[in-house]
Structure formats: structure tokens, C-alpha cells
């Protein structure tokens, strides 16, 4: 179990490093573009393309770290989990994260199909000299990471339920 958590932490750190680097680069390049355009009436095309791609990558990476078991920050209608008593709220949470994990596996499959299609089409982002299919790889990679993290959330929920029931039992015995 501990190794699974450790893998989640490693993935999280890699994603966070990429996010910090990309966001700072995006900020500097976007500002650079403003300065170039307004002061020199000039625009660097690769910077603009980079910014647009960085936006997509930041969105997917941000969504991926939001899924981590220690973040759990995705937007949802958080109504029943506050109303239901323990352990039903935890059971509901575990079920929802398991379904989310399965859904993400399906998304990975569909995203891979999309990557294959773009690879077959063979379009290249000329400004950054990068084939489009390489950029689209962010979809399956991040959904794969999300599927794994939702599964870890599911495991953590089960462990929480078990721990709480055990501690209640010990309290009752005392």
C-alpha cells in the first residue's frame, strides 16, 4: 500500500514541477509578447504558439494534481457527503472515486484513439517544430494519472472507513 502512495507522490511532484516551470514561462512569454507588440510592433510566433500549448498542458496537469488524494479539489456538487453520517458518506465517496477512476480509464482509451488519428494525419505545429500528436499525448497521460489517483482516493477511503470502525470498536470496548 505504501508503495502505491509513494508512486502517487512522485507523480504529483513531477506534475507540480512541470506546472511551476510552465506557468512561469507562460507569464514571461505572454508579457514578452505584449512588450514586443506594443513597443516594436513585432510578434514572435513560436512564443504565441507555445503559450497556447502551455495553456492546454497547464489545464490538464492542474486537473491531474487536483485529483490527488491529498488535494481532492475537483468541482462537484458537494451536497450529500455533508449530510450523510459516517460511514455512509465515506462509502459514497469511495464508490464515486471508483466510478471516476473507471471513467478515466475509458477516457484514456478514447484519448489514445485520438492520438493515433492525429499521428495518422501527421499535422505539425510549424512554429514550435512539434508534431501535433506529441502535444495531444497530454490527454492520455493526464487521464491515466487521474485514473490512478482516483483509485488511490478509493483505497484511502476504504482505509479511513476501516480505521474509524476499528477505533470506534476500541472506544466501545473501553
Amino acid at each position: 500500500m505504501r508503495i502505491l502512495y509513494k508512486i502517487e507522490r512522485i507523480i504529483y511532484n513531477v506534475e507540480l514541477t512541470a506546472i511551476v516551470t510552465l506557468l512561469l514561462a507562460l507569464s514571461v512569454f505572454a508579457f514578452g509578447q505584449v512588450v514586443m507588440r506594443n513597443m516594436f510592433s513585432y510578434s514572435i510566433i513560436w512564443m504565441a504558439t507555445f503559450n497556447n500549448i502551455a495553456l492546454l498542458v497547464l489545464a490538464m496537469l492542474g486537473a491531474s494534481i487536483a485529483t490527488s488524494s491529498f488535494e481532492r479539489s475537483h468541482i462537484n456538487i458537494d451536497l450529500f457527503q455533508g449530510i450523510l453520517p459516517f460511514p455512509y458518506n465515506k462509502y459514497l465517496n469511495a464508490l464515486l472515486t471508483l466510478i471516476a477512476s473507471a471513467a478515466c480509464v475509458l477516457f484514456v482509451y478514447l484519448a489514445m484513439h485520438y492520438v493515433m488519428v492525429t499521428k495518422h494525419v501527421g499535422k505539425i505545429e510549424e512554429a514550435v517544430h512539434l508534431p501535433e500528436w506529441v502535444i495531444t499525448m497530454i490527454f492520455p497521460v493526464c487521464f491515466c494519472s487521474m485514473a490512478y489517483k482516483f483509485f488511490i482516493c478509493f483505497l484511502r477511503d476504504l482505509v479511513d472507513i476501516k480505521d474509524k470502525i476499528n477505533s470506534n470498536r476500541i472506544d466501545a470496548d473501553k
Partner: protein
């Protein structure tokens, strides 16, 4: 397909992340209704990279979070208090302005209530304002800046609606100014009676104002620079966002040194989690919009509605009720992503300007923040001020009614939203008839 939709609605109500629900609905619709590969959704999602205006979203979120984590809330309160605190109900006005400015920059009421509300609550109580009134003011103030540039929902609406009708984000920024001020003034008018009844007026102190101004001198030009720059057409929304980020980073890291590198990484983490959870919904919703367009959903809905309602004003009343209902069950970002593609084409056919519609839409969703069962501000205030949910709910009722009055004025006086657009040379008012 009906079974899938029902299942997805149930999952959404029980708390499944909304991007899973919207994505699954889009994938299923592509496969079962349009008989094309569900992977088509990613073609729509990838369109994020072809719309440069989207770059404004992560940059504005980032700059808002940097401001929230620095000493800016404290400095801003001190400055507005020294400037306006001497007016009757001056502290309430300070609270409303501070909340509006902060929400406009952070785009999320949770941060405003936590960062600004925490400082305001003891100050208002100390000034003898009743607790119930104070809680209502801060809870409602948490979403008051939604109509002020560069608030995130304005950008989102502008970007999503621009897929259906010719408008741009800068139009939304300008159109939101008067309606935003109207709501602020209405709230202050209500607070005025409390100010006169419960508090004594403070004296204006020039030395305090000078000291507070010196304290915030570096951050103070930012809102004026952004508003002025966009109003004068000097730069676009993404450009304003880029300037804001670099300016704030330089000020907070190197000039005032309110932030260090370690805090900055945590700010980036939190802001990009917010960015990711919004944009993944938007990306999935772009796929769902594609489905709606292919199935001519807005056209079909329009023919059903127009068969029963021919009057534009009756339609507007029903639209308000519908959006309010959406706001009570859905957060503002998901509502923008899912509902806007459907209502924009219908409203345009009724002769409603899409920019005006956007302001009505967002003013409604602003109310959604304080309307149960999913009123986010209600939950945040309940936790933050350690009060029961019914106590908070009771406290916002008068403010809710005031905002409803404001909403009706915004709905039935389109000039409130469209008047300023006449003065911007690069933007033209959209004639809805030309879209038909």
C-alpha cells in the same frame, strides 16, 4: 441514452466531479446520438489551443492568488477605510468595495470571504453593527465583484458565448461596470440605515490616509491600469493578464517582499489546481456544445419556447428563473460551460444582445452563491465564522432581496449594460437581428 443521462444526473447530484459527468455525457452523445467516434470530443478540447483569449484565465487566476496570499487584503482595507470610513456606513462601503475588488481579481468568493471577510468581521462587530447584518454583508459581498473586470466568469462567458455570437471578452468587461456599481450602491443604500442607527461617524484623518496610501502605493495603480488599458483599447484581456502577473510578481517578490519563493510555489499549486478544475470542465463542455450544435438543440428549444412565449419580456422573466435555478444547483464555472451554449442562440433570436444576456446571466449566478442548496458562500461563511447554516441563510435574506431588485433593473434596462460600449471605438454594439 435516457438511462445514461439519468445515471449521470444521479452521479452528479451525489458528488461525482463535474468534468467526469460532462465528459461522459459528451462521449455518450457522440457515440449513441451522432453515431461518430467519441474521440471527437478531444478535437473540441484541443481547440483550447487555438483561442489565445483563454491564456487570460490561468494568468488572472495566478495574479489573484498572489494578491490573496500577500498583505494586499490588509493594505487594501486600511486604504479604503482611511479614504471612505468617515462616510455614514463608511465601513460597510469599505467592506463592499474591498470585497468587489478582491472578487474581481480572484474570481472566487471563497477566497474573498476567507481573506477579506476575516479582517472585516471583527471590525464591523467592533463598530456596533448587528452580527446578523455583518454576516449577511460579508457572505453576500463574497460574490459582489463578479461583474467587475477582470473577474473570471466574465472571461469564461465571453469566450464561450463568442462561439455562438460575435462578441468579445473586452465587451463583457466594459458592460459589467455599471451593473456592478448598481449592485454595490444598492447594497450600500441598505447598509446606510444600519450605519446611521448603530454606529457613530469617524473623523477623516489625512495623515492616516497618507500613511495607508504609502503602504499600498505599489499595488494601487494595478486596477486603474487594467481598467484604463482595456477601456481605452490599449490592450486586450490576455495582454492585461500578462502585465498584471509580471507586475504583481515583481512587486510582491522584490519590492514589498510580501512573498518568498517557497510561498510562490504553493500559490502556483493552488492557483493551477483551480485553473485545471475549471478548464477541464470547459474543455469537456466544448465537446458537449458540439453535440448541442449538431443536434440543433438550441433551435429545437427555441421553437418549443417561441410556440408558447412570443413576448421578449416574459421570456426574460422565465430566463431569470431558469438561470437562478441553475445557480442554486451548479457552480458558476460549470454553469458558464454548460448552459451558455444553449441559452445564447435562443436569447439572440428573442432580440436580446448577447453582451446584455451575459450580464443578466452572471448577475443571476451571483445570487446563486447565496442561494441554497449549493450556495458556496453560505457554506464558506458557515465554516469560517463558525455559525450554523440556518443562521447564515437568515442573514443573507435581505441582501438577496436587494440583489433581486438589482437583477430586475439590469434585466429590463439593457442600457445599464450596453451604454458604455457606445464609447469604445474598437467595439461595436451587436445588432441581434443580424445574427438571425
Amino acid at each position: 441514452m435516457n438511462f445514461i443521462i439519468l445515471g449521470l444526473i444521479l452521479l452528479a447530484v451525489f458528488g461525482e466531479p463535474l468534468f467526469i459527468i460532462i465528459g461522459s455525457a459528451a462521449f455518450a452523445s457522440f457515440y449513441f446520438l451522432l453515431n461518430i467516434s467519441p474521440s471527437t470530443l478531444f478535437t473540441d478540447f484541443y481547440r483550447l489551443t487555438t483561442m489565445p483569449v483563454f491564456v487570460a484565465i490561468p494568468l488572472f487566476i495566478f495574479s489573484g492568488y498572489v494578491l490573496a496570499d500577500s498583505r494586499v487584503p490588509e493594505k487594501m482595507l486600511r486604504f479604503t477605510h482611511s479614504l471612505l470610513g468617515w462616510l455614514p456606513a463608511g465601513l460597510c462601503l469599505v467592506a463592499l468595495i474591498a470585497c468587489s475588488v478582491f472578487t474581481a481579481f480572484t474570481g472566487a468568493s471563497a477566497i474573498t470571504i476567507v481573506a477579506v471577510g476575516t479582517l472585516l468581521y471583527p471590525a464591523l462587530i467592533k463598530d456596533n453593527y448587528p452580527e446578523n447584518f455583518t454576516l449577511g454583508l460579508i457572505t453576500t459581498g463574497g460574490s459582489l465583484g463578479t461583474l467587475f473586470m477582470p473577474c473570471l466568469p466574465l472571461i469564461l462567458y465571453g469566450v464561450i458565448a463568442s462561439q455562438q455570437a460575435p462578441l468579445n471578452v473586452e465587451d463583457m468587461f466594459i458592460a459589467g461596470l455599471i451593473p456592478g456599481l448598481l449592485l454595490l450602491v444598492l447594497m450600500w443604500a441598505y447598509a446606510f440605515f444600519f450605519g446611521v442607527k448603530y454606529t457613530t461617524r469617524e473623523k477623516f484623518s489625512f495623515p492616516e490616509l497618507a500613511s495607508a496610501t504609502r503602504d499600498i502605493i505599489w499595488e494601487l495603480p494595478l486596477p486603474f491600469f487594467i481598467i484604463g488599458g482595456i477601456l481605452s483599447g490599449l490592450f486586450s484581456a490576455p495582454e492585461a493578464a500578462a502585465i498584471a502577473v509580471i507586475y504583481i510578481l515583481i512587486i510582491e517578490l522584490f519590492v514589498t517582499r510580501d512573498m518568498n519563493a517557497k510561498t510562490l510555489i504553493q500559490v502556483i499549486r493552488r492557483s493551477m489546481i483551480m485553473n485545471g478544475s475549471i478548464l477541464i470542465i470547459v474543455g469537456m463542455a466544448l465537446g458537449l456544445t458540439d453535440v448541442f450544435v449538431n443536434l440543433s438543440v438550441p433551435d429545437k428549444l427555441f421553437s418549443i419556447i417561441s410556440a408558447n412565449i412570443s413576448n421578449k419580456y416574459v421570456f426574460l422573466i422565465l430566463l431569470n428563473i431558469f438561470i437562478l435555478a441553475v445557480g442554486t444547483t451548479m457552480d458558476i464555472f460549470s454553469a458558464c460551460a454548460v448552459v451558455v451554449p444553449i441559452i445564447v442562440p435562443i436569447a439572440v433570436k428573442y432580440g436580446i444582445d448577447p453582451v446584455h444576456l451575459g450580464i443578466i446571466f452572471l448577475a443571476n449566478l451571483e445570487l446563486g452563491f447565496i442561494t441554497p442548496p449549493i450556495g458556496m458562500s453560505l457554506f464558506i461563511s458557515s465554516i469560517k465564522f463558525n455559525k450554523s447554516f440556518p443562521t447564515i441563510l437568515k442573514s443573507v435574506i435581505p441582501f438577496f432581496l436587494i440583489l433581486v431588485i438589482g437583477l430586475l433593473l439590469i434585466t429590463y434596462i439593457p442600457e445599464l449594460s450596453l451604454y458604455l460600449l457606445k464609447f469604445t471605438d474598437q467595439k461595436n454594439l451587436i445588432d441581434p437581428a443580424s445574427l438571425l
